[in-house]
Amino acid sequence: MNDSVRTTHPDPARRRWMAVLARAKADRIAALLAGCGALPPHTIIRGPEGGLVMVRGRAGGGGSAFNLGEMTVTRCTVRTTTGFVGHAYVAGREERRAELAAFVDALMQDQTCAADIECRVIAPLERQQMERKADRASNAAATRVQFFAMQTMRT
């Protein structure tokens, strides 16, 4: 596939929760799910299985793309007994994490429990991830060095 093509996701809401799940730890998802009451059981359609994904990089704004290296990825697809299919691709080799993320993706498509899962699982995970990100950013910002001389020379 041409890497210059940027396709828009047909379902931005799903993209958001899948991204949150892909970054979450298995124990954390499991702990949050445990507080959600009775959930439909699920069967595995594919995986969880590990594989390699080629990460492509680009030097500068106009450089051509090159292969930066491969990273391990684990994917899983599950189907709940209520008929919803969930997918997950997570970085690393943790199979349980991929399965849990796929399961929650399936639950989020089920209108009968999506709102509950959203506020009990997705929202807390997202909040935690945002806090961690802000925390890291502020730590990094504290050590930032401003090169006034160079900035002045360039303008």
């Binding site: 359609i45 594919r46 299985e49 697809t77 189907r79 299919v85």
Partner: protein, 190 residues
């Protein structure tokens, strides 16, 4: 549609290896029957056809599905990742009725292996019209019974067989059984 997704091989590595070995043996010994297991096929495919697709098709093998086989396209695309293509460019063809063999890729003199392989699902490989097979891999002519081929199949096959070393290969499936008719085999009515 995605609600109909069902699992692929129960044990993806071992089952695919055993299926690959069966297809290899079937190609080497035309007309011999092999049984396949490890998968429960989506409608309308039979288990053997589904197993062959899981084993042979991947993202590098353009696949053409005939209109009836296309009912299982969601399952096939999900598990194999094979791109769909017009029949003339297909490396694999999955069909529930014999497609027009002259419209498929027969390979080139430099690369005869690039021809299409047709996976054809038939009603039965143990009853029906009887044919006599002769050619490499068969010490003596072998009689096979196949239910589900068109009445003029012998003439159609002859057109393909005379192209040798070019031409398409045929893998026949019914239920959990498969057998192969490589391009090198000649077929007569019994």
């Amino acid at each position: 549609m995605s609600n109909e997704l069902s699992p692929g091989f129960a044990d993806s590595v071992a089952d695919a290896q055993s299926c690959f070995r069966s297809v290899l043996n079937a190609m080497a010994r035309p007309g011999h029957l092999h049984a396949i297991g490890g998968v429960s096929a989506p409608h309308p495919l039979c288990d053997a056809a589904a197993a062959i697709l899981l084993t042979l098709a991947d993202h590098e093998t353009p696949l053409w599905l005939d209109p009836m086989a296309a009912e299982a396209s969601v399952w096939i695309t999900f598990h194999t990742g094979a791109p769909r293509t017009p029949a003339a460019q297909a490396m694999f063809v999955m069909a529930l009725s014999l497609p027009d063999l002259t419209g498929l890729s027969i390979g080139t003199d430099e690369m005869p292996e690039t021809s299409a392989t047709v996976i054809l699902q038939v009603a039965s490989l143990t009853t029906g019209q009887r044919y006599v097979l002769e050619g490499p891999g068969l010490r003596e002519p072998r009689v096979v019974a196949i239910d589900g081929l068109p009445p003029d199949f012998v003439a159609i096959w002859q057109q393909n067989h005379v192209l040798y070393p070019l031409g398409v290969d045929l893998i026949l499936c019914a239920g959990n059984q498969l057998t192969a008719l490589p391009r090198s085999v000649s077929i007569k009515d019994a």
